[in-house]
Every structure is written in C-alpha cells, then in structure tokens.
C-alpha cells in the first residue's frame, strides 16, 4: 500500500464525508477547518519529496516540499479558509463539496513532484470548479459552465499529450524545469498558458467567473490561474517569451475593464492584468523576479478575493453587480465599502498596502534587466489597474450617482471574511518581512525607499486626477448595459457562423446537384415517353401488337382447353 498522504488527501476525504455530517454548524465548520488540517500536513516537514512510489514503472511523488510549493500551498490554504467563512450561509451541499475538491486539487497540484500527479489534479480543478458555475442553476450558467469545462479539459488533454511525448523523449515524468524547444514542452507550455489566461487563450476567465454564484466566484478567483502561474514558475522560469506574453497580458485587459459594466467581469479583467505581472516575473527568471512572482501571487490572491467578496456582497444584497444599476451604496453598506476600498488600494499598490510590496519586486526586476519597453508597459498597467479596479469599482458601486438602492449591510460572516482579508492586506503592506521570509530565494529587498514611495504616489494620484478630470468633463464613458465582444466571439459567433455557412453551402450544393440530376432524369424519361408513350410515334404499332398478343393468349387458352 503506497503512502498517499498529501494535503489534497485531507480535502478529498473531507469532501467525501461532508454530505454525511448533519446539517448545521458542524457541516459549515468543515470547510473552514479543513485548510488548517491541510497546512498541518506539510508545514512542519523539511524540504524533500514525500509519499512517493512507483506506478507502472513511473516514479510518482505526491508531496514535494520546497520553498516555492510551500508558499503557494500556504496561500491556497488561507484562501480556501477565507472563502469558506465568506460562504458560511451557503447550505448547498454541491457547492460545499465542489469547493473542497477544487481547493484540494489546486493544493495537490502545487505539491505534485511529477507530471502525472500534476495532470490528475489539473483536471481535478477543472471538474470540481465547474460545479460552482452550474450551482447558479440557470440556462446561461449551464452554457457558460460547458464552455469553461471544454477549455479547461482541453488544457488538461494538451498537458497529457505533452507529458506522453516528454516521457518518450526523456524517459521521466518528473516535474522540473523545462526548455521550450520540442513539441512536448511546447504542448505543456500551451496547457499552462490556457489555464494562465494568456492573450487570446484568456476569455474563458472573463466568461466564466462572473457566471458563478456569489460565493463561487470568490473561490474561483483564487486557484486555477495562480496554479498555472506556479506551474510556469516551476517549469519555465527565465523563458524569455513569457516576458512579452506577460506584458501583453497586463495591457489589453485594462481597456476592456474600463468599458465593462458587470463589476465582477471588470474584476476578472483586472485579474488577467495582474497575472500578466506574475508571468513577466517568471519570464525574467532572476531570483528577484521569481520572488516577485511568488509574493505577488500571495498578495494578489488576498486582495482579489477581497474585491470579489465586496462586489459579491453587493450582488448578494441587491441582486445585481452591474455598474449601471448601482451607486450610492456607501449610505447603507459602509463596511463593505471600506473593505472594498482596502482591496482597491492593495491592487493599486498604494504604499502600506500589500500590492505595493509585491508588485515593486517585479518592476524592479524588469528595470534591473534593462527591459525598458516592458517596464514602461508595466508602469502603464499599474496606473491602468488603479484606474479601473482602484477607482472604478468602489466609485461606481458605492458612490457616483445614487441608485436609490438601500440594501442592508452584508451579513456578519461576510464582514468577518472581508475584515480578516483586509487586515491581511494591510498587515502585509505595513510589515512585509514575514512574507519576504517565505519567498523562495534569499534576496534583500527594501520596498519603502523615498524614491519608490514618492514615485508610486505620483503615479497613483496623477491617475486619480486623470479620472477626476475625465469625469468632470464627461469624457469618461458611462456605465452601460452591454456585452463587449472579446476573443470568445471567435468560438461563440464566428466559428458557429462559419459552420453554419459551410452547412448552407453544402446543403445548397446538394440541392442544386439533386435538382439538376432530377431535371435531367425527368427530361430523359419525358423524351422516352414522348417516343414510346401512348401518343408517341413508336406507339403507333401498339393496336396491331396487342391484337397479336391477345390472339396468342386466346389460341393458348384453346390449346389448353382442348387437352383437358
């Protein structure tokens, strides 16, 4: 019996047992407490690979502990716990089980020492998470979930194909650093890229996350994409192409975020933009940059969850998360507003908030390596993210024009979850040393220098000024109920239209061909009929012919009768 202990085992066991726990406080406690048990499994272990065994000649390692997997394992556990507190009111067993399996799979994948284990948990995250979308139980959510599932499973299938090819090439399935070059590594790279929402492979994220339940979106925001960032940091650090992919990722989502109406989708776009920073960090690949990626993933999971929680609380109380329908909610939901502002300040990297101490590592690393254009893009993206996540979200939800909505403050458990998350965001920003301790490399970095604080404040306050000027001059585009076309248009409209067009052409051709054939055959028959039919020239001999026939019949009959 092989040793199967990994934090994921704890989550999976809890998920299996949860439906048998009597409904009530005990069942609600399970998802909150399981992350603690999960952390207990790996926290005290020294670096190394545990729970390894041979399976059909493949060397499987379920739990590889090192600095990189430890920090991702920790933040995933924290996120799972906070999301469970936020979802305290949810009595839907399906969502509870799906949440546990999803978090467990993500953590299991982080600790995977080989690509087979990675693949199993990779698909686990896909299958478990789709139930958080389907839990909305509407036709639109069903269709969206299907699209999400197809993309996610597709990523897994490509990963598997890459792993098989890699095994044929190298004879090992160990999950370690790879070089882009062969078909195998490219396939693995693309599989990671789909889950990481690379440009043009990204749209499943903005499509699916706003379609989940109030609590489901909070859970979704934490795991899938950051698992992909981890996988890239493990498999492809220092791969140059990632710098440019990441830079594009930071850039284009902010344009969409400005015009998007659904605030949860705005957050999904800004999530995509933040992933870009992490991908740039992986691409640069220096110890400082990789530290930046790990630190930024850590902080990002917290503030992004906080933002999704606060917008989720608004949705929970008002039934909508659309900017065009909201406004003035600070009057009755002040605490939700305050926590939202903390999340907004953190994602915008205000000094004393978490984003400041993590994003600057990546920016410094890009400047250190002399990537001027990339650095300019990242700076622009930093200003842009402040613009749409830092100002737009709190402003349109809680201030702007008064929508007349007077929702009650978010329920207590949501406030607790948001409060703890907000406290972590501020705590990390004010006192980053413990987080820096956890980072994979030993690099001295001081975020609070005069230059850095002043320049960052300049960037942010001038961006705020730009927002104010544009609002005052009414240049700023108003929030409108709308759908904005993105790359999902390709597979939701263009490809179906092409298939429909092709079908049209084929049916048209078929109809034409059959019509031509039918006319020809008809004409042929008509010609014969004209010649041989009753009126035809060749039918003139008929009366003689038939008389002969009847004579023959008559004579025959006579012959037969004569013999009887």
């Amino acid at each position: 019996m092989p040793e199967l202990l990994t934090p994921a085992t704890v989550y999976i066991l809890a998920a299996i047992l949860l439906p048998f726990v009597p409904k009530g406080i005990f069942r609600q406690l399970v998802p909150v407490l399981v992350p603690f048990a999960g952390v207990a499994v790996f926290w005290t272990l020294q670096s190394g690979t545990f729970s390894s065994f041979n399976l059909m000649g493949l060397h499987i390692g379920l739990m590889r502990i090192d600095d990189l997997s430890r920090i991702f394992g920790l933040i995933f556990s924290i996120a799972a716990c906070l999301a469970a507190i936020y979802a305290w009111h949810v009595r839907d067993t399906i969502q509870q089980v799906a949440g546990l399996l999803y978090a467990g799979s993500a953590i299991g994948a982080v600790f995977a020492a080989d690509l087979i284990t990675l693949f199993v948990f990779w698909e686990g995250t896909a299958i478990a998470s789709v139930f958080l979308i389907w839990a909305r139980r509407t036709e639109g959510a069903y269709a969206t979930g299907m699209r999400y599932l197809i993309v996610q499973i597709g990523s897994g299938v490509i990963l598997m194909a890459g792993v098989v090819l890699l095994y044929r090439e190298t004879g090992t399935v160990a999950f370690s650093q790879m070089e882009l070059g062969s078909l195998a590594t490219w396939m693995i790279f693309i599989a990671f890229g789909i889950k990481c929402a690379f440009p043009l492979l990204h749209n499943w994220l903005q499509d699916a996350y706003p379609a989940a339940t109030v609590t489901g979106t909070v859970i979704l925001s934490a795991f899938t994409t950051k698992l992909a960032v981890y996988a890239l940091a493990r498999g492809f650090p220092g791969t140059e192409i990632l710098i440019y992919i990441g830079a594009v990722m930071t850039l284009f989502p902010i344009f969409y975020a400005v015009i998007e109406n659904d605030l949860r989708r705005v957050l999904a776009y800004s999530l995509n933009n933040q992933l870009g920073f992490m991908v740039v960090g992986v691409g640069i690949g220096t110890p400082l940059a990789l530290n930046g990626t790990a630190a930024h993933a850590f902080c990002h999971i917290l503030y992004k969850a906080l933002l999704f929680m606060s917008v989720g609380a608004v949705l929970f109380r008002t039934g909508t998360a659309k900017g065009s329908e909201l406004g003035g909610l600070y009057k009755t939901m002040p605490w939700t507003m305050a926590f939202c502002v903390v999340g907004a300040a953190s994602i915008s990297a205000f000094p004393l908030f978490s984003g400041f101490i993590s994003k600057s590592l990546i920016l410094s690393a890009s400047a250190d390596e002399g990537h001027f254009i990339v650095w300019l893009i990242l700076l622009f993206a930093s200003a842009g993210v402040f613009h749409h996540s830092g100002i737009k979200i709190p402003y349109f939800a809680f201030f702007a024009h008064d929508s007349g909505k007077r929702p009650k403050e978010a329920p207590r458990h949501m406030l607790i979850a948001m409060g703890v998350t907000a406290a972590l965001c501020i705590g990390i920003g004010v006192y980053p040393a413990p987080l820096y301790e956890l980072l994979p490399y030993d690099v001295g970095y001081e975020p609070y220098t005069t230059s850095h604080v002043v320049t960052q404040l300049q960037l942010l306050f001038f961006s705020a000024l730009a927002f104010t000027v544009l609002m005052k001059t009414r240049v700023y585009p108003p929030e409108l109920r709308s759908t904005n076309l993105d790359s999902d248009w390709i597979y939701r409209r263009m490809l179906p239209a092409m298939v429909a067009g092709l079908r049209h052409v084929i049916t048209g051709t078929w109809r034409f061909a059959s019509r031509v054939t039918t006319t020809r055959v008809d004409r042929f028959i008509a010609t014969i009929y004209r010649a041989h039919g009753p009126q035809g020239p060749l039918a003139r001999t008929w009366p003689t012919g038939s008389m002969v026939l009847w004579m023959a019949v008559l004579l025959g009959m006579t012959l037969v009768l004569a013999y009887i």
Binding site: A135, R136, R137, G140, A143, T144, A211, T213, V214, I254, F255, V258, I259, D262, L315, F316, R317, G319, K331, T332, P334, A338, A367, F372, W375, L379, F380, A383, G384, H387, A400, H401, D402, S403, G404, K405, P407, K408, T449, S451, V454, T455, Q456, Q458, L459, F461, F462, S463, A464, L465, A466, F467, V475, Y476, P477, P478, L480, S482, T483, R492
Partner: protein, 118 residues
C-alpha cells in the same frame, strides 16, 4: 445616467454611523474641495522630486514628475482609447442570449436581498 432616487424623505440619522460620516461625498461643493486637494497634492508630489536623490534605472526617470505625467497621460489615453473601442465592441446585453448569464436575472436562491428603511 438616470438616477431612480426615491422621492420620499430619508432620515440620514438612521444610516449606519460610518455612512453618516461620509455623507459629505454627496455634496458637490465638498467634492470640489476634495478635487482641489487632489490637485494640490499632485503639485506637491511633483515638487517633492526636487528634494531627494531619485534612485533610478533609466534616464527618463530623472525627469521631474515623470511618474505623475506618465500616469496622467496614459490614463487619459487609456480611457479615450477604450471609449473608441466601445464603438467597435459594444453589443446588446442579449447578444449571446440565451447562452449567457448577461441577460438573466441572478437567481434569488443565491441571494439574500434585504433593504433597510431609512
């Protein structure tokens, strides 16, 4: 923007205390004062550039107020470009209906709607 502001009189004293302290944000003259404060803050931050040694990687960073002006210009450009994109990309909410959640109401079972009577 169409505000469906309820005509009936509200008693701000019944708002939560944190909200009562923020009611000034609904007063345009006070918001204007805030805007001027922001302008002064920006000016101050630009001037601050002359009073410390800026640690930098690129030459352009040495331009006083570079970060501020870059942020301002790029943000304005961002919004104007995005507004332009809207012309190309904007469709009705039910463009993908019924295979989208965009055109649906959020199901009540997932919500906990409650209003307060102020």
């Amino acid at each position: 923007m169409t505000g469906s502001h309820s005509p009936r009189a509200e008693d701000p004293a019944r708002f939560p205390w944190l909200s009562r302290h923020l009611l000034w944000t609904s007063d345009p003259s006070k918001v204007n004062r805030l805007v001027w404060a922001l302008v002064i803050l920006c000016a101050g931050l630009t001037l601050a550039d002359f009073f410390y040694h800026k640690h930098s990687h690129f030459e352009i960073e040495q331009v006083p107020g570079f970060y501020g002006f870059y942020g301002f210009i790029m943000c304005a450009a961002l919004v104007i470009a995005a507004k332009g994109l809207r012309v190309l990309l904007k469709r009705d909410e039910d463009y993908y209906a019924p295979y989208t959640v965009e055109s649906e109401e959020h199901p009540e079972a997932d919500l906990g709607r409650e209003n307060i009577d102020a």
